[in-house]
Symmetry: C2
Subunit: 454 residues, 2 copies
């Protein structure tokens, strides 16, 4: 137990934002006040909640006397500022003001951090105050702290994350019910998992912001949203999902950050000869083998799979969104910042010493599964295989599947081919697909999907 | 990046023990010296490795000039002491000596911590130094830090851990190959997963030590090895494993720590009316539904499933043992302790403010699956059901299964019953089983297994 728990004056906590998460943070600060005081060594006093409209309806648990529209005034009288308003402005200005005034800050704002985190980190460093952001990535799941602190003595090689619950719910529903994407998105909206405008989720923007944050932490290198190659789930069809199941996979939207060792052979991240060294950061749908731990992440759950040189494979699983889960992560950070106020010390700062190169999307190296319709006659397979070989893409397997109830191909004279490649750079694959599409007996390239976690 | 990385004098690290883990810690301290210096803000200098016999053969990566048999002398000249020798003595005396001399300590010694952790925690607190022990529970998996820090703003309700890789390997092999326990243990020994004397693993002592540590952290209450009800896997038969599969379960050895709210109804931990409040800590084999995330933890992997009031369900998965994985956790702690030396501050102390009661084994409340052989005639089921009801144990389901190739029961006139109960206190269940066994038409109680995670 921290000594002198009662002798330290209360710490003033300011809350910026009172939406789903803010409401829960306020509730927990009140309900768990005694526990928090025992853990921190001082009481945490919620001194105000900044909102845009103090007169708007709120959950009954919110103490309306704490509401204020004067966020700047509130920030000026706090020891710890918790930002759960989201968006770039005024969140950034308010956090910078809090930092300048010497307050510790806790934020759940992934978009702001992915876009302009370094401005905040530098300001916090200069002011000698804490900045914590566990809730910005994968909600309740402790992932920021484990990567920043628990793995500080290891070398992370790869991070594969299911970090967007909406898209995981949609893809999981497609896999379990056979419904198509539009139906699944509609259902997610009806259930409150997806917003009226689902763009940020289904186009991968939300996952990309988290990928940038995770990559920065894992590789001690500054990675921003612009560095993340991004592809959403809108092109995933019910047929893709059914085919995935047929070949022992599930389709997941993955946030991927991986180290590429350049030309060194035999590494676990599949470096191709002559490839440049650096970090590849991307978000896209991928086929994940059903035997992989990420394949079992169902519904709106999140999980982050980490491969580190010494630790090996790790996975962190839990709720990636929602008021109470996100508030749990926020409060863990508040306790850390508060303990430093009471006992001295400071949390981790931004770590960018490695300064690794960020590789372009075209340099990403993965395996692919290409599905195509071809004329059903001898020699076609050889022609296709030859086109791949010419572009340096080697084939792991070619199947001419018979998938009852799955394939749309009923036309006589047309065969479906399913090609799985060995790891190849995205640039080589793109060129290959273009070449194959141009072959005379090739009718259609039905789909091209990356395979990860194999 | 920490400022003044080069200006801080090197920190002297002493290593106690040079077995599987110690060898890897020494290797990584050397190989990753530059990375570690950048992360800490000072170089970490391995100043010596204490061993019992400096002349014994070692891995070629060990710098023999660092070996010493004078552990006490080594400890006296270190800033950070890493203990990976195991056992109670001399580990405890050496750690206390290090703490008294003002060194931060990092230990992987679960047995020592579960037996006498508070002596060390109090000494570290009095001396104002860090004590870290991530590697003591579940090897490479970050679980100590998340529970102590990330969940510091939440209330943990339950921890279910697969924290012993040997027994998980054995049970997994039984499930996947149908082999019996002795064969699977033998195979685990051949593969190096189990020791020549597997008692500590198969009898649950190792898991119990980890359960005590996890319970202490999760519930802010002192829990020692003696508080843990313990049952190993030796009584698990191939038939139990096959039956588990038939009913949609797998058998896992679980380390369980859960909060019991006393008489309050409707909690997620299944409190029975009139039951006392407190913490139940136990290790035993249990049926886990195949849909539960823990059910997919295969081979020698470990995982810890945590239910917290706000965060909901979390799971942490990875390698629970092995030289490099354990060394990863040790080095994460070393970096934390070292950063405090450079930048000021201190890690978390022991937190025991909650002082919850430790409940006796008989008060544990779980569901049960009871398998028995009875005379195959009308009225028997009613008799058995009546005996359960009399002891306050309510039945969820009774099945008279036909399990081809599973059941040994070929005798005519004998039927097999499979009873699943609702949650009931262990005391009630014991009395019930005794009563049922005494019924005239009951031939044998074949097995009684707890059901967890449902």
């Amino acid at each position: 137990m921290p000594p002198a728990a009662e002798s330290h004056p209360p710490l003033r906590v300011a809350l910026l934002g009172c939406g789903v998460v803010g409401t829960q943070v306020a509730r927990l600060l009140t309900e768990q006040a005694d526990d928090l005081a025992s853990r921190v060594g001082a009481r945490l006093e919620l001194v105000g909640i900044a909102v845009r409209n103090a007169a708007a309806p709120r959950a009954s648990s919110v103490d309306r006397s704490l509401l204020t529209e004067d966020a700047e005034g509130l920030v000026a009288r706090a020891d710890i500022v918790v930002e759960v308003m989201g968006g770039t402005e005024p969140a950034r200005s308010l956090l910078l003001r809090a930092i300048d005034a010497g307050a510790a800050v806790v934020t759940a704002n992934k978009a702001l951090l992915a876009e302009d985190g370094p401005t905040l980190y530098k300001a916090a460093d200069a002011a000698g105050v804490d900045i914590y952001f566990e809730a910005a990535v994968a909600g309740a799941i402790p992932i920021v702290r484990p990567v920043r602190e628990s793995l500080a003595g290891d070398r992370v090689r790869r991070v594969l994350g299911i970090v967007n619950g909406t898209t995981n719910y949609v893809l999981d529903q497609m896999a379990t019910t056979g419904m198509d994407l539009e139906e699944a998105v509609k259902e997610a909206q009806d259930l409150g998992y997806a917003e009226a405008d689902p763009t940020a989720d289904v186009e991968g923007y939300d996952a990309a912001a988290k990928a940038a944050i995770l990559a920065s932490l894992a590789f001690h290198t500054r990675v921003s949203l612009d560095d993340v190659a991004r592809e959403g789930i809108m092109s995933v069809t019910a047929e893709d999902v059914a085919w995935a199941a047929q070949t022992g996979h599930v389709i997941k939207l993955l946030a991927i950050a991986e180290l590429r060792e350049g030309t060194s052979a035999g590494t676990s991240v599949g470096a191709a000869a002559g490839a440049p060294a650096g970090v590849s950061v991307r978000v896209h749908p991928a086929l994940v083998p059903t035997s992989h731990p990420l394949a079992n992440v169902r519904g709106s759950f999140n999980a982050v799979f980490v491969e580190a040189e010494s630790a090996g494979e790790l996975m962190f699983y839990g709720r990636g969104a929602g008021g109470a889960p996100t508030a749990s992560a926020v409060l863990g950070d508040v306790v850390s910042a508060a303990r430093h106020r009471v006992l001295g010390g400071k949390g981790p700062q931004e770590s960018t010493y490695a300064e690794l190169a960020i590789l372009p999307a075209s340099a990403a190296v993965t395996r692919y599964q290409v599905r195509l319709e071809v004329d059903d006659r001898p020699g076609v397979l050889a022609q296709v295989a030859h086109a791949l070989a010419e572009h340096g893409v080697s084939i792991e397997a070619v199947r001419q599947p018979t998938a009852p109830g799955v394939s749309d191909v009923a036309e006589p004279g047309v065969a479906e081919l399913l090609i799985t490649t060995h790891a190849a750079p995205e640039s080589a694959l793109s060129a290959t697909v273009a070449a194959v599409a141009g072959l005379e007996p090739v009718r259609t390239i039905t789909s091209v999907l990356r395979v990860e976690g194999a």
